[in-house]
Symmetry: C2
Subunit: 447 residues, 2 copies
């Protein structure tokens, strides 16, 4: 232990929360020295040091520890203190300093932690906020490739876990690589001596711990799997996601999208018992965003104040025309946001979506312009009728293209498309619609 | 066969599609005569007569038929001709003339029909468009109360059906009444001689064939059941709903709600391959509804045309104020529509919702009015600042109450709350907001 790093230094670095310096020092030590060091540290300090090791080194260090130190380490990995330290890291540092845990350690950790704390522990294990790992459950029953039906049935009989967690049993090679799955009910249909490997359904594409939870959950539901096995980057089983948890993830995502499409934050709780203050808090942010961006419409109208003074009748159609523009934009945004959530379209489809919305918007504009002209002309004169009809024809395609493009642009900026859609689109469509309206009015009315 | 009704009369009544007269004539016959009559008719005519019997009589008639006639009748009950005849009935006649089929007939019918035709056949069986019966599957494996684990395991081993359909096995009394369910995996955990009745989990509340499919599906998912048994009005098993079908029903309902909240019909298909015409068709109806109702805003503004001519600056804030009102209204509508869909609130909560939205709206209005006054006053004068601030304070609670009430009112009128919300609310809020704005302006500016 003549290493550059001793217990006292580590204590002072962890006290200062200087994890970056600590990580750099540890990475210089090498696995053997680190193994020795960990045996000397307090459990919490050992856990912090262990979490800052690069993944391949942490495999080696863990294997080098004696049984007692190992289980102390596992216990320390899910203390509140560690949870606080690693939750406080900013996401960038989290990604840079904390590698994923080796599959065998994560598996032991999952088994040791009460269900309610799993999410927090997966944060310590280095998994991002939206990763499927945050929702994993520990695996209850597994089958090895050389098992027989009778052996797996015996294991299933001996376990006390929730049946939801064992409907589909992961089939693993001796080094825990996922090769397939076995529907537990198949065990009833085949002779006890049957080879499990012959019954396993191969897994086409393994879901990884850092896959996006919504995408993974939707895929699981689409493919009617009852339990989704989750592997580390080498395809070694780490945990599972029972289908009821997948359904819950999707329901939350849908509730969020639905709320955001109505320009409010999701409530995530029952409406009637929720206090007025809490409800107002879910709404005020978007109202302020909308209000501030709606100042744009005031400025646009100021440009045309003299035109308005000359022909006051033009003011009559402002809410009608901005309303239709806003609605056309939010229709396009709704359809495109949904298609993005369903993984039907991606960033690469930007131009195709824009072209489609341009054509759809033009068609809608013409379909609205014809009756608008027929109704407005007798009442307000041919010229006003023509201004309104032409505004609709020009404005609907603009609104549709804007509405269809913004969700894709948001996704490109790694922002949830549903977040920006509603307030942004309605305001933008209001402002651009007014510009189009008054430009056409000035041209046609010769102002 | 000296009855009032002979084969020739029936032929002419069915040819004329006068099902009401036919039903009345049949109800006079009595079960014995009807049984004899059915044996003499062609299979299609027999099926029509049979469907027009009251439920208790049809039980008796079916039991009185010989084996051959029975199976001819079952076959005829799912022909295209019958499907057309009963689909053409208007919903009221459907309810008045067509009782639900007896459970044993529906069960046989379900077994005889290919999966793709099940929905149409359930229409013949007298089930409404939104009833869970429309999505039932035939039951694959059942357990009787006096079965042992070994007997049920044997039945499960002998069937070839999809495992999704047998994860939960309905446990029935000898007269097919549902008493509980048995998770098929429990069969692996208990000795072959165990009594099934002792393992059955009692069903708290039986889902009935005519229950609303979305409500039933949400309850099934909430309670983590893998298969939902469905009973007739006497609690006799008719069919099942595997959980994957429940998930599909909810996904469709959510897609519809989401689309409607964006003011468009759901697409129900992939976006990019869908033609522009089809997309435009999902949007044009709401755009027209919005456009027609937005004419209201034109009329409101016409009332204040002279005020506008006097203070043109008032026009500058029209899009801003209507935008904030519309957004406040749609926020309230979104939250309340969701709470209705989740069965958290019902018609009885109308006043509590209105009171809650009034208070929330007032709070939001004040929160917006303060910064609005602070920003607008230096730019446009104290008076205009006060008009804007006061309009926000009055208009936000109105918009919130309207937005929260309309979905409940829609539900009271048996209209999907999500349908009316968006276009209706934004237009109503625009019109009422303009009224408030100009009334306040006239009062404060002394016009």
């Amino acid at each position: 232990m003549t290493s550059v790093l001793d217990a006292a230094t580590i204590r002072s670095l962890t006290d200062d929360r200087d994890l970056a310096a600590l990580a750099a020092a540890i990475r210089e030590l090498g696995p053997n020295a680190t193994t020795e060091l960990i045996a000397e540290l307090s459990a919490t300090e050992a856990a912090i040091v262990f979490r800052l090791l690069p993944k391949d080194e942490s495999v080696e260090v863990f294997d080098g520890l004696d049984r007692g130190t190992r289980s102390d380490l596992i216990a320390a990995l899910h203390t509140e203190e560690l949870s606080t330290i690693f939750s406080d890291l900013d996401p960038e540092d989290q990604g840079r300093l904390v590698d994923e845990l080796p599959a065998n350690v994560t598996t032991k950790l999952l088994d040791a932690v009460p269900a309610s704390d799993l999410g927090a522990v997966m944060a310590i294990a280095g998994y991002g906020r939206n990763s499927i790992a945050r929702r994993m459950s520990p695996t209850a029953v597994i089958a090895w490739t050389n098992d027989t039906v009778a052996e797996v049935t015996g294991r299933l009989r001996d376990t006390e876990v929730d049946l939801e967690d064992v409907r589909l049993i992961p089939v693993l090679t001796p080094d825990r690589r996922i090769v397939g799955t076995l529907d537990a009910l198949e065990l009833l249909r085949f002779a006890p001596g049957t080879d499990v490997e012959s019954l396993a359904v191969p897994v086409e594409e393994i879901t990884h711990t850092d896959d996006d939870m919504e995408t993974a959950a939707r895929a699981a539901l689409r493919e009617d799997v009852t339990v989704l096995p989750i592997g580390d980057s080498e395809g070694r089983l780490v945990g599972i996601l029972p289908i009821k948890d997948a359904a819950r993830i999707i329901a939350e995502a849908d509730e969020e999208d639905y709320a955001l499409s109505g320009g409010t934050q999701p409530l995530y709780r029952r409406y009637l018992p929720t206090s007025i203050l809490t409800i107002a808090r879910t709404r005020i942010v978007w109202l302020l965003v909308l209000a501030i961006s709606a100042v744009l419409t005031v400025h646009v109208l100021e440009i045309f104040e003299s035109t308005l003074a000359e022909v006051v009748a033009l003011a009559l159609f402002i809410p009608l025309l901005t309303g239709i523009g806003g609605n056309t934009g939010s229709q396009a945004a709704t359809t495109v946001t949904r298609a993005l959530a369903m993984d039907e379209i991606g960033l690469r489809d930007f131009l195709r979506v824009a072209a489609k919305e341009l054509a759809t918007g033009l068609l809608l504009g013409v379909l609205l312009a014809v009756p608008a002209f027929a109704i407005a002309s007798p009442l307000y004169g041919l010229e006003i009728g023509a201004v309104i009809a032409l505004t609709l024809t020009v404005n609907c395609p603009i609104a549709a293209v804007v509405g269809g493009s913004i969700p894709i642009a948001a996704k490109a900026c790694k922002v949830d498309p549903a977040v920006v859609s509603t307030p942004f689109i309605s305001t933008f469509c209001d402002a651009s619609g007014l510009l189009v309206y008054f430009t056409i009015a000035i041209a046609l009315l010769g102002l």
